[in-house]
């Protein structure tokens, strides 16, 4: 598969850049998607720590792709293949660390994280804590996809 323009440009840690730019969540809750995600990414290792968030996500009735602890292969194979076909929203219930990786990769295709919510009350997002999130196409970039 040939790299798209967007795949090439984003090489340097989009998560932190996005946070620095102050991108604001546009959703109030995990179950109210602007567009239905093409799939849900789930870290099975989270277990009971993420049950509440998982219940919200599962209610969406869409395909689930799961892994245990290491999102690498899912990210490099499944999501790359999915986003290579089109800019489809993806939701997730993962650790904060996996979100960092997914967001970094998503940027290469022109998607941004439009929603993130830590699932441990009182704790900020951390690499080892569960978080619910949604990646969606970056609507503010008209050329996304058109030159892929």
């Amino acid at each position: 598969m040939k790299a798209s323009r967007r795949q090439v440009v984003a090489g340097g840690g989009l998560t932190m850049v996005a946070l620095g730019m102050g991108i604001t969540p546009y959703m109030a809750g995990a179950a109210t998607y602007e567009a239905a995600p093409a799939l849900l990414l789930l870290d099975r290792a989270l277990g009971a720590r993420a049950d509440a968030g998982w219940a919200d996500l599962r209610s969406a009735d869409i395909e689930i792709v799961s892994y245990t602890r290491d999102c690498g292969e899912v990210l490099s194979d499944r999501l790359t293949e999915l986003w290579g076909r089109g800019l489809l929203p993806v939701a997730g219930l993962t650790t904060g660390g996996a979100l960092f990786c997914v967001e970094h990769q998503a940027a290469r295709f022109g998607l941004v994280c439009s929603y993130r919510e830590g699932l441990v009350p009182g704790e900020a997002l951390q690499p080892n804590l569960p978080v619910a999130w949604l990646m969606r196409p970056r609507s503010s970039t008209p050329r996304d996809g058109s030159r892929a």
């Binding site: 090439v8 440009v9 850049v17 290491d70 660390g97 900020a124």
Partner: protein, 550 residues
């Protein structure tokens, strides 16, 4: 937008126009939104005036386009900063050393050009990631292992050129040493092949490293003398088995013997995987332990024991001995790995145990034996890079502890190379502890080194990077002091974040900075206009050497 010194807006626009002619309009990036994506997410100078930022990016598709970009850079004077996949997090990411440079993004050059299973080698382009290579090897059905660092999304070429390391056998986990042959676009646009590749129609480019005459490959690692567009690597044939052996020693004073024996076993080829050291009493885990690769969180360790490891005097040893007896946790542990036929690795483990028996009271666990391919259950549990499998699991681990409670967004590493002795480990810990105290930083747990390289140890200390300027300044000051104090004792860094390139280069000062001047002589000869990565690893072209490095 920041422009480099000596480049005005008109020159920049000429360069951009030239880049567009060279690679096509859509592969030149100038919008703020696009260029911001090349910021170093882990920058220790985030949002400060000295944060290194690019002015643009250009992404060629092939060698011819790289050569065309170099011609434009020479014509206009706009420097370019080559990156492969741009994942060098902790050491600079994809941001240029000299602000205002254009990033030369090689991600589109992403072909695995050759997989030679019989001779266990590959030839790749810079945009190939470890995941890409792993997939290509698997798809080809080749029984070869890749050796990768913990985050597997980086590039074998990029990591090797930065002299990164991995986790399997010594000749593979030293990623630069594992390469065999390279292709380089020189700053003037000329194309060079090294080793046997210098011979047209060479049949052994990935089989014999040196070629004929001076072996120059090292000049293109940690440097700015050209743009590497192809590299060959030797791969590790998949072994029949891997054996993981665990060794425990109870006395504080056992560390020198433990290190000495491990070193001998590795140098003798009996231990042929990456060894490591830990401390069960201190809850210091061994890096790349297949059972648990999580970083340490020693916040629960009793402070008096913690301090006793630094003191190491008679009273401290007595306290440690008492805690060892009371808890049943050993003072030290070592992990040794063996790859090969099962009969052979079992014999190697027995031979190793005979040597470790020199240490009074030494104990061993039953060894773990792995066969391949690993089962799904094993894959979910083990440290994958130990078995040649790329992973991103390292990103699940935070280093925010009771000792470092502030929010962090990334990390930076202080990574000196020290002698491979227990005595050096004790001394380094004491010296660095003094600096931490002087700088008002919490004293980290007693540090144990990594064994990535043969014959030396690497004492990595991780510092957070944050979005708080005052905190970042405090950590940068501490690292600058550590660099200087370490150098006074003969410990030099193997690699450093961009912010410290000049400070580290200044410590390699033997003979009135003869090495730096040699680098500069080569730089000026190969790149008289100073258009490739000015300042990378402390090598500045003539035009930037008069303090013009903004």
């Amino acid at each position: 937008m920041t422009l480099p010194p000596g480049i005005d807006q008109a020159a920049f626009e000429r360069a951009i126009a030239g880049f567009r002619r060279a690679v096509g309009e859509e592969w030149v990036f100038t919008s703020q939104e696009d260029v911001a994506l090349y910021r170093d997410a882990y920058s220790p100078m985030w949002n400060e005036p000295d944060e290194r930022v690019a002015s643009a990016a250009v992404a060629p598709a092939d060698v011819g386009e790289v050569q065309a970009v170099m011609r434009v850079a020479n014509d206009t004077g706009l420097p370019v900063y080559p990156i492969s996949t741009g994942k060098n997090l902790g050491y600079g990411g994809s941001a240029p050393t000299l602000s205002g440079s254009a990033v030369l993004d090689l991600k589109r050059m992403d072909r695995v050009l050759d997989i030679d299973e019989a001779n266990a080698s590959v030839l790749v382009e810079p945009g190939v990631s470890y995941f890409d290579l792993y997939r290509a090897v698997r798809d080809a059905g080749a029984k070869l292992w890749i050796d990768c660092p913990d985050p597997g999304w980086g590039s074998p070429i990029g990591n090797a050129l930065d002299r990164g390391g991995g986790y399997t056998r010594a000749q593979f986990r030293n990623h630069f040493d594992a390469h065999c042959g390279m292709e380089v676009v020189l700053p003037d646009g000329a194309l060079l092949r090294t080793g046997m590749g210098a011979m047209p129609e060479a049949k052994t480019w990935q089989q014999y490293k040196a070629g004929f005459g001076p072996w120059i490959d090292g000049l293109f690692s940690q440097s700015n003398f050209g743009v590497v567009t192809k590299m060959g690597f030797w791969m590790m044939p998949e072994p029949e088995a891997a054996l993981i052996g665990r060794v425990y020693a109870d006395r504080y004073e056992d560390l020198p013997a433990l290190v000495r024996i491990v070193t001998h076993l590795e140098n003798a080829g009996i231990v042929n995987g990456m060894p490591g050291f830990g401390s069960p009493l201190l809850q210091r885990r061994i890096p790349a332990d297949p059972r648990s690769s999580a970083p340490n969180d020693s916040s629960a360790v009793d402070r008096s024991v913690h301090d006793a490891f630094y003191d190491g005097d008679k009273a401290a040893r007595a306290l440690i001995a008492e805690r060892v007896r009371a808890t049943g946790s050993s003072c030290w542990s070592a992990l040794v790995k063996f790859y090969g036929p099962e009969r052979m690795v079992r014999l190697q483990w027995e031979l190793a145990k005979e040597r470790f028996a020199e240490i009074p009271g030494v104990r061993f666990d039953e060894p773990e034996i792995y066969g391949f391919p690993l089962s799904d259950e094993e894959l979910e549990q083990v440290h994958k890079p130990t078995f040649g499998i790329p992973s991103l699991a390292i990103f699940n681990f935070g280093i925010r502890t009771d000792l470092r409670p502030e929010p962090m967004v990334g990390h930076q590493a202080f990574s000196p190379v020290i002698p491979r002795t227990g005595e050096a480990i004790f001394e380094v810990n004491k010296v660095f502890a003094g600096i931490f105290r002087d700088e008002g930083l919490p004293l980290p747990p007693f540090n144990l080194p990594g064994c990535v390289w043969e014959r030396a140890l690497m004492m990595i200390t991780i510092f957070p990077t944050t979005h708080d300027e005052a905190l970042n300044t405090k950590y940068r000051r501490a690292i600058q002091r550590l660099i200087a104090e370490a150098a006074r004792r003969g410990w030099g860094e193997y690699r450093t974040p961009v912010a410290y390139y000049d400070a580290v280069m200044a410590t390699y000062s033997f003979g009135d900075n003869a090495l730096r001047r040699f680098h500069e002589t080569i730089k000026d000869a190969l790149d008289p206009n100073g258009i490739v990565s000015p300042g990378r690893y402390g090598i500045w072209p003539r035009r930037n050497r008069a303090g013009d490095r903004a």
